[in-house]
Symmetry: C2
DNA sequence: CTGTTAGCGCTTTCAG
DNA sequence: CTGAAAGCGCTAACAG
């Protein structure tokens, strides 16, 4: 029978307790300059003692607008699109909290990205949401050399030095890899041959995914024949499918660890391997839905890009507005298994812009 | 480069446009009595035309508190506990929105429940969150006979007549059943014998789960030997395990569609069937985690009770405060597959009270 | 470094 | 049925 909300304690109360003005209390609590260290301490102490909880609603009613920008690369992938939808969802949820988020599309190279970021920093933006572009390593390097002022960067599956970002949101690659391994293990008897097909191993997520996969492959006692990288380029994927099957014509299973595997799959079908090789893939996008329906792909590991976008936006807000601290610099989302039997739920998700994942 | 937030349009603007007071606009927009049909219409029309969006933050700053209660049965299950945590999470998220949620624990029978509900209705509560008690059918019947005034009921996996509740939140039983069927199908060759073990088939969720399972079993060409109900009673579950294996000593797989299957599993192990029969189960709770780790259970279908509680609370709030309409009377959450390889994520979830599922 | 004051957008008495 | 006015809790100038 516990009450879950006490009668509201306000800055007014704590000001009164201390015999000072509410303005000072507000300043202190929000970490503004211009408050003596001594009173600041007293304020924090009493706030804590009295059990004060700030009202976000009241705050955002008077606060000046926080400006965010989300930077997307041109030539948007299904993945980016989902991230974008997630950000839009978060914006909608935050609409009463006095934040604006500008979506911008930039040339897909680190130079263009760094310039845009610099510009935003100068334009007094408060925070930016960074979606992966090619050449992440370079971007990270450029970033070090710039003065971004107080601009806060939230990375979505993008590698940056830890001190250059507030946090990074991404899928739990290691677990995703293990899941793929376990699924192939249940599909195939011990000793069967499996390969890993991926985009670029330079990326940390892909590396972790690969690690998890290899780990599990060992547990499942499958025979690992090698990793094949196609750098997310359709032409390479095409050729690579041929090479892989030439080198291992008796291959039994493949884990397609990158979302950009359509070309690869198509080539597989052309070569008559449909149904002969067990496939576990990554992500859910229109073409993948078809592959699963047709039975070409047995399962896919959903990495929830929508939630990646949504969470990143929300966390950035909490960091900037509520002063939330992030001990864990990496926020890992749980990958989910999608089979034919639950495919419809994800199919719906892609279509349904208003989908209620609840994140809230 | 679109701005995602326009400069705020307030009731003040629409009052001015119409040459009336903001009070009237507020009343009309909130569906209060005491506004002539004519002005109400004009107000709605202009609000729409001007693209007015109410500010929830401003509203909840002045609104009087909404009172909710969540009614739990005594002798709480793991399931209830998770639901409870979800509700608490939602309350925390809504803390600035001027709602209070009282958690109450009631004897586990429909009579006690109906009395409590009636009491709450008289005490001017605005809404209640209903967690399943035994004898749901009776509760539904009793409910019809009472005058609950304006009390809004949100059901969590509880069957009520549609006009007696605002909505019901539950897991997508049909899909869960299909998923279990597909998993058994990949584990077992066509023609193998499988059984369904469940709690009570009277409940709608269980029925749908069973339907989905049977449907998929057919697709997988497995041999279905029958449904076994143990009414969630440990003693029955114990005996039933024996009966099932006596009737089908050559059984190959079982889908344990109810969370209360620990006794059943234990008996299975005692009888020496561990490893001989493939098991797919339901939900994730401490004991189930052990079963999966040990390999006794291959997979379990997570039904996300935490999110059921969280969503229900949030939706009730949206209904009561924001006037949200629910075309879909049933809100179905997506079941998730938990294997050994991703178990750690769910294990963590159970422990981590503050887990960020985002739902939000 | 600190206090005063004017709102933010809305709901709710209290008077008509 | 409608309007005036007093806040809800907080922030942001503006004065000290």
């Amino acid at each position: 029978m516990e009450e879950m909300r006490s009668t509201k304690l306000t800055i007014y109360d704590i000001a009164q307790e201390l015999g000072i003005s509410i303005a000072t209390v507000s300043r202190a609590l929000n970490g503004k300059e211009d408050v003596s260290e001594k009173t600041r301490e007293r304020i924090f102490e009493t706030a804590k003692r009295m059990g004060y909880k700030a009202s976000k609603t009241a705050a955002s009613l008077s606060r000046k607008e926080k400006k965010f920008a989300a930077i997307f690369p041109e030539l948007i992938h299904d993945y980016d699109n989902e991230v974008r939808r997630g950000i839009e969802k978060a914006v909608q949820e935050l609409q009463d909290y006095h934040v604006s988020v500008e979506m911008m599309t930039i040339k897909n190279n680190p130079e263009a990205f760094i310039e845009e970021i610099q510009t935003l920093a100068n334009k007094e933006y408060d925070g930016i949401l960074l979606i992966p572009c090619v050449g992440e390593a370079k971007l990270a390097e450029y970033l070090r050399q710039r003065d971004l002022g107080k601009l806060a960067i939230a990375a979505i599956t993008t590698e940056l030095a830890k001190d250059m970002r507030i946090f990074m949101v991404q899928s739990n690659g290691r677990v995703a890899g293990r899941m793929a391994g376990e699924l192939l293990g249940t599909l195939l008897n011990p000793g069967k041959k499996v390969a890993l097909v991926t985009g670029q191993m330079t990326s940390q997520v892909h590396q972790k995914t690969a690690e998890g996969f290899l780990e599990e492959i060992k547990v499942q006692k499958l025979d690992f024949v090698g990793t094949y990288e196609h750098y997310d380029q359709p032409s390479k994927a095409y050729i690579m499918a041929e090479r892989l099957l030439k080198e291992h014509p008796d291959l039994d299973g493949i884990y397609l660890a990158t979302a950009n595997s359509v070309t690869f799959c198509n080539r597989l079908v052309e070569m008559g391997y449909a149904g002969k090789i067990k496939l576990v893939a990554s992500d859910v996008f229109p073409k993948m839905i078809e592959f699963i329906k047709s039975g070409l792909v047995f399962a896919t590991i959903f990495q929830n890009p929508f939630n990646q976008g949504r969470l990143a936006t929300r966390y950035l807000f909490e960091y900037l507005v509520e002063g939330r601290e992030f001990e864990e610099d990496e926020v890992l989302l749980e990958p989910q298994i999608v089979l034919k039997s639950n495919l419809e739920l994800y199919e719906k998700k892609l279509l349904d812009v208003m989908s209620e994942d609840i994140l809230f």
